[in-house]
Structures are given as C-alpha cells and as structure tokens.
C-alpha cells in the first residue's frame, strides 16, 4: 500500500532519462578503460611503444658545426641538466675509442680480402637489444666480439652487393666470418681476432664490450678525456609530453621513430582521456539529474510524505521505497552497461585477433561496474535518508 502510494509520486520520464544517461555514461567509461587496458598490452607487445624507455640523443649537425665540431658534443653541464629533468630516469653516455682501429682479413682466408678503418663505441650492456653468450671480453683474451647495426647489413645486401655484383650474406653467414682487428695508438699496436656476434636494431654504431674499450682506452689512447656526442636516456614515462618539449627546445635529436611513437601515444592517451572525461561528465550529469528529480519529487509530494510521517511511518520506512527504486534503476543501468561493454569488447577483441597475437588481459568490466554501483547506491541511500528526515522532522 505504501509502495502504491509512493509509486504515484514518481515521474517515469525522469527515471527512464536517468537510466538511459547513466547507461550511456557508464558504458563509455568502462568500455574506454577496458579498451585502454587491452590496447596497451597489444601495443607494448607489438611495438614496444610503452615499454621502450630509452632513446639515443644527439645534437643536430648543422653547417656551422661541420667546421667547429665542438657543437656536436655534450658537455658535463648539459648532461647534468638532462639528468635533472623530472621525466628522466637515467642518462648514460656512449664511450668511444680514442685510438685507431682497422679491420682486415688474412691473406690465406677463404673470404675476399679487405682492409678498412673502423671506429668503436660502447654502451652499458643494459641498453643492448642483442643477447649473445659471446658478448664478453677479458684482458688476456685476443678475441673481440662486435655488434653492428642491422641496417648496415641491409645496406650491404640490398645496396652495395647488388651494385657491385657481390653475393648477399645472411646474418648467420656473417657471424661465421673471422677477421682481424688492429688497434693502434700511444705508440703501440696490437692485433686481435674478431667476428660479428650480433645485430642491433636500436643502436646505430659499431659496438664492442665496455670492458674491452675501457682497457684499450687506458692503454692505447693518448687523450685523457673522451668527448661525448651521443647519450642514452632512460625515461620514467616515455609518453610524457614534456620530453618532446624539452628536446625541441634544446634542438636535440632523438630517434625519429621513437619520437613518432611518443606522439602516437600522446594522441592516443589524450583521445582516451577526452572520451573518459566526456563519460564522467555524462555520469555526473545523470547523477545530478536524478538528485534534482529527487528534490522535485520530495518537494512536490511533501504533504504526502509528511502525512505518512504523521500517521506513524518513520523516515526510514518512507525513504526505503525511494532508496530501493534508485538502487534498482542504477543496478539495471549498470548491468545493461556491463552487457554492452562485454559485447563491445568481444567485438573488438575479435577484430584484434585477426591482426595480432591473442593476448589475455584482465577483464576490469565487472569490478569497475560494481564499484560505480556501490558508490552511487551508497550516495543515494545517504542523500535520500537525509532529505526525507529534513522534510519530516519538525524544526524546533
């Protein structure tokens, strides 16, 4: 009987309006969050976009700098400034060789004869994208492992070999070719055996183990101080937009591809953030709408509610109907939203499975839905109880 009476106080359009707007808001919010979770793992697996945290930084080479090379080096102050940026986790330097390096083959070898001048650099092992057991050097060893950039091989195979009528070489073949390395400097020279042990996608340089270069610099270099022209920078969050601003402002070069990825991530995140913001606004509006409806209904039916109170109904009993109703409608809206999100997710995961390897990401749809439901129902419960109490309890 009480519910029959209270049902008459409702305006169906308001409740349906609330249900629909809440459904839309929650659907967008949860679908976007879940989409972010799913896509993030896909991107990090496919392109390393999100997990790639280190980039190589150099200075722009300009006409002016061609004649005054000092401009391409980083001085200690600049490195320190970079290190102090909030988005920078760590800065490491390329160590370069301060001695002459040349490579040549033995006359007796079964590979074509060659002789070339080379340069060596070293980076801390943590930055290497190549894993091989051969990557080590000990002071009494006369073997130096070398890593070259993968695109050197491409350059040779598809450019040089093609035009010179030379055979193309697979990675496997190249790693089997032994050659000699002669280092000279400080009035001394020494010949080592060497071969290529790996190819790097990331670091565009001819790399030797750090241990070797440190030893060789100590013995064969006549200059004490090494000049630094390239840095390895670790970021806390590579999608931080301050990174781009900083490098642009200082005219530093970073790997173009990394730059593109950072841009993509930036727009991707901004887009998702915008959608999330819209979803939150829709939810807030729907909640504000139902709270306004609540006030309207209570004001319009103040006499009915007061009379109920006068004939012996407690504010708790009077409020129960409205509390149950708002909880029920909220529940229905959120369950519909969860079903909708699950369908949407199923749809896009299906599409993804055609393009990428299957990934198993945690499903946050239900936990987020339950969380929103609990927050809203709790909010309505408290606010309704307060409003009805305020309405009926006589002011003294």
């Amino acid at each position: 009987m009480l519910y029959k009476l209270q049902r008459k106080t409702l305006v169906p359009v308001q409740i349906i309006g609330y249900l629909i707007t809440l459904f839309i808001g929650v659907s967008i919010l949860i679908a976007t969050l879940q989409f972010f979770v799913d896509v993030r793992s896909l991107l990090s697996e496919q392109t390393d976009v999100f997990s790639k945290k280190s980039v190589i930084v150099s200075k722009q080479v300009s006409l002016f700098k061609t004649f005054n090379k000092d401009g391409v080096y980083f001085d200690a102050e600049e490195i320190e400034e970079l290190r102090s940026q909030p988005f920078v986790e760590e800065v490491s330097t390329f160590t370069n060789a301060g001695f002459e390096v040349s490579a040549f083959t033995d006359k007796s070898g079964n590979v074509p004869m060659f002789y070339t001048d080379l340069f060596f650099e070293s980076v801390p092992d943590a930055y290497l994208d190549v894993t091989t057991d051969d990557w080590k050097w000990e002071p009494d060893s006369d073997f130096i492992p070398i890593i070259i950039p993968e695109n050197y091989l491409n350059l040779y195979n598809f450019g040089f070999a093609e035009s010179q009528g030379l055979p193309v070489l697979s990675k496997n073949t190249i790693t089997k070719i032994q050659f000699n390395i002669q280092i000279a400097g400080n009035g001394k020279r020494k010949v080592f055996k060497s071969n290529i042990v790996g190819f790097s996608d990331k670091i565009n340089s001819i790399l030797v183990p750090m241990d070797f270069l440190t030893w060789a610099n100590a013995n064969y270099s006549d200059t004490e101080k090494r000049k630094v022209s390239r840095l390895l920078v670790d970021f806390k969050d590579p999608s931080d937009k301050a990174i781009l601003q900083f490098f642009n402002a200082h005219n530093y070069n970073i790997n173009k591809q990394d730059l593109e990825f950072t841009k993509v991530i930036f727009f991707f995140k901004t887009g998702l953030l915008f959608v999330l913001l819209v979803a939150v606004i829709i939810i807030v509006l729907s909640v504000a709408f139902i709270l306004m409806s609540k006030n309207l209904i209570l004001q319009k039916n103040a006499t009915t509610i007061l009379n109920l109170y006068y004939i012996g109904y407690s504010p708790k009993q009077i409020g129960k109907f409205y509390q149950m109703l708002t909880a029920g409608v909220t529940f229905v809206a959120i369950v519909l939203a969860l079903i909708c999100c699950t369908l949407v997710r199923g749809y896009y995961l299906d599409k993804f499975s055609n393009m990428f390897e299957a990934t198993n990401n945690p499903n946050y749809i239900v936990p987020i839905g339950v969380f929103i439901l609990l927050v809203l129902v709790g909010l309505y419960y408290v606010l309704l109880a307060r409003s009805i109490k305020k309405l009926v309890v006589p002011k003294s």
């Binding site: 029959k4 008459k8 009379n307 006589p394 003294s396």
Partner: protein, 198 residues
C-alpha cells in the same frame, strides 16, 4: 504561537499537566487559542515550545515512532488522508503498521459509519463529512493509550456524531484508553472526567 499570545490557562504556562490513561478530557477554546497546537505538542509533531512532554509507558519507548504506532492515535483536523488512495487503502495503510485489526474488522467499522458502499472509492471523490468518518475509522486501527480528537465532528450531523462517538467509546473501552477531545464549545458526546479551557 508566539509567547505573547500564550495566556495562562488550564494547560499553557502550568507547571505540570497530567493526562491519565482511561480518563476522558475535553479541551475547550475559541478558534486560534491553541487547541491543535496542544494536541500536536502531545503528539510530538510540534516542537516549538518550552518545556517537555513525557510519555510514561511500560515498557519504556524504544523509539519516538512507537508513540504514534502504538500509544497515541490522532484524528487530525485536516484529516491527513491520501486522496489518491481509496477509502479502504487509506485505512489499510495505517493498519499495516501494527496489524491491529483484520480486514473483516475494518470492513465492519466502515459499515458502522455507513460508508461500506464507498469502500473502494478514491478519497478525493468523498465529501468532507465522509472523509472525516474515514479519518476517525483509521485512527481506531491501531493500539492506543490515548486518542486525540481535533474537532472531529465539525462536518458531521448529529446522527452521525452519535454514531462515531459510540464507536470511539467502544474502542476506548476495548483499549482501556484515554481521550483528549478539543472542541469550540462544550458538548456531551462523551462522559468527560475533566474539562480544560485554553
């Protein structure tokens, strides 16, 4: 009422006024002298006064709503009926709080006040006199120690007044309850133990 309006009477500005269960009180006053106010104060729906209203019950009250559910019944001057509900629904809405009477007993009461044929009519379609009788029947559908009657017969003819007065008297006896009746002038519908004037 503001303080300046309150005059010394049998109730207002007294140190203590005691209403005893089983006794019948008539409160007489002209319009605007606070008859409804005094009933509302007793009922707990008016708290704009200085002093205290104490309900002496055994066992002690668990919550203030207990008073309205089981100790005080009130026939409001403006009825406080729900016009969108039917006559019977209005009474049932009160009865479900305590399940004091059965459906048959309620129908019998409605029949006694000659409204059974209107049982399912919406209250908004009833006349003032009919509404007044519904309000009285509703007030009888709960256990009570006192029934508060605020000019309950203002829209009734003498025949109907005797009819409902007898009904109320029966219920008073059944509940061993007291009566506080406000009226513009004295009447003889009940056997009053005490007449108070405001």
């Amino acid at each position: 009422m503001s303080e300046t309006e309150v005059q010394v009477s049998d109730i207002f500005l007294k140190e203590e006024v005691l209403f005893e269960k089983g006794q019948q009180y008539l409160v007489v006053a002209h319009s605007g002298h606070g008859k409804t106010s005094i009933l509302n104060i007793i009922y707990g729906s008016n708290t704009a006064y200085q002093g205290a209203v104490n309900y002496v019950t055994t066992p002690p009250l668990k919550s203030p709503f207990e008073v309205r559910k089981s100790h005080l019944s009130y026939v409001f001057q403006d009825f406080k009926l729900f016009t969108d509900l039917s006559l019977f629904e209005n009474i049932w809405l009160k009865n479900v709080l305590t399940h004091h009477k059965t459906k048959a007993e309620i129908e019998e009461l409605i029949d006694k006040v000659q409204l059974l044929h209107k049982k399912d009519a919406l209250v908004k379609n009833l006349s003032l006199g009919q509404r007044q009788r519904v309000a009285i029947v509703r007030a009888l559908c709960q256990p009570f120690d006192f029934i508060l009657l605020d000019e309950p017969f203002s829209h009734l003819d003498t025949e109907n007044i005797h009819l409902v007065a007898n009904l109320i008297t029966d219920e008073l006896k059944a509940n061993n309850a007291g009566l506080i009746h406000t009226s513009l002038d004295g009447d003889t519908f009940f056997n009053y133990d005490k007449v108070l004037s405001l």
